[in-house]
Symmetry: D2
Subunit: 118 residues, 4 copies
Amino acid sequence: MTSELEDLAARLREFARVRDWERFHTPKNLVMALSGEVGELVAEFQWLTPAEALDLDATALARVRAELGDVTVYLTRLADVLGVDLVEAAHAKLDESDRRYDPDVYRGSARKAPPLPP
Amino acid sequence: MTSELEDLAARLREFARVRDWERFHTPKNLVMALSGEVGELVAEFQWLTPAEALDLDATALARVRAELGDVTVYLTRLADVLGVDLVEAAHAKLDESDRRYDPDVYRGSARKAPPLPP
Amino acid sequence: MTSELEDLAARLREFARVRDWERFHTPKNLVMALSGEVGELVAEFQWLTPAEALDLDATALARVRAELGDVTVYLTRLADVLGVDLVEAAHAKLDESDRRYDPDVYRGSARKAPPLPP
Amino acid sequence: MTSELEDLAARLREFARVRDWERFHTPKNLVMALSGEVGELVAEFQWLTPAEALDLDATALARVRAELGDVTVYLTRLADVLGVDLVEAAHAKLDESDRRYDPDVYRGSARKAPPLPP
């Protein structure tokens, strides 16, 4: 049985193969494509107040959903080309964060919020 | 039965809850965190030649895997906060691309490579 | 008489030349480096409330200043390699925006804020 | 006498003022806008080979010039809102890089190319 991300990766592999686009899908190019799509996603939120960003109307949400789809496409394709399992890699980082950010120490304090991790 | 991305989203939800970090996880903040992590991923590849990027040594691959993990963490958390199914959104975009890029027209020509889609 | 950006571009040209790093400074690599540095700049602001971001303490401001320096370095080097005058290009975009966003129409309304321009 | 970047900053200040858009131009929003524009710039280069990226045709160069203009607009506006002098900040980073990357040590070796600086 394959996972939904493996199915998506397989579809992308076939998508590139039938168009002879594999030569474009180098790690450098794919990471640039991912970065470009994340830029479009950021642009959807840039002028919104925090409150507006939490309460998108149907049109804005549809655009955001499309951008999230593009980001997922390139992230999945990049990981496939590199042979990395995204969900395993995410859990490995969360194992680290679990050790690093003791809930009893970090709970309830904005000032202790870490600069980068979740 | 839940999927592996639903499991990851649930772990992230709990991770934020026990630290009282939900207030930081607004869409604006999460999209910024995603953008920052993609920047770190891009930095791993910036000075490599195309050939070097295809043949990462174990140390570089471990760093890239860690960055891919961070990107997946924030992308999954953002999608969860917005109520978007990433894999569904990706397939919807690919349905569009399948219609838009006829393999018989686009096959084998660099010049016809689209500016943005996969 | 040269401008301050021309002086900076000249310093960067020499910086690359004496290290034999010109071969790394291709447009693709430099645009990736710019993207990576902007990611680090975004990361400085990601968890701040809008009010906190307006009132950085000296330590945070020093970090932000350093990241802005890095972004300026790569943007200037990229423009130099491509033969583009950044300030002329910016004024050309503002000429467009002046025509496109009539102050009498756009003034005072959040809802009319354009998706992308300033 | 003012510099060309000060003149550009002054034009942007007035541009925002007459439209009552100052409230949108918070540091968080402007850094997101900068990130979005850099994403568009990256997208211009993503599928090009290194050789193609060095030899843009007139149409591609015009698009790249427009994106560089947008990036310069937001970078200048962000620095103005934060009270940072971009060119001074860039020279300060280059002073550091001059100390850190001795030309005699780093010259002529791809493998010694630093992960991040120019």
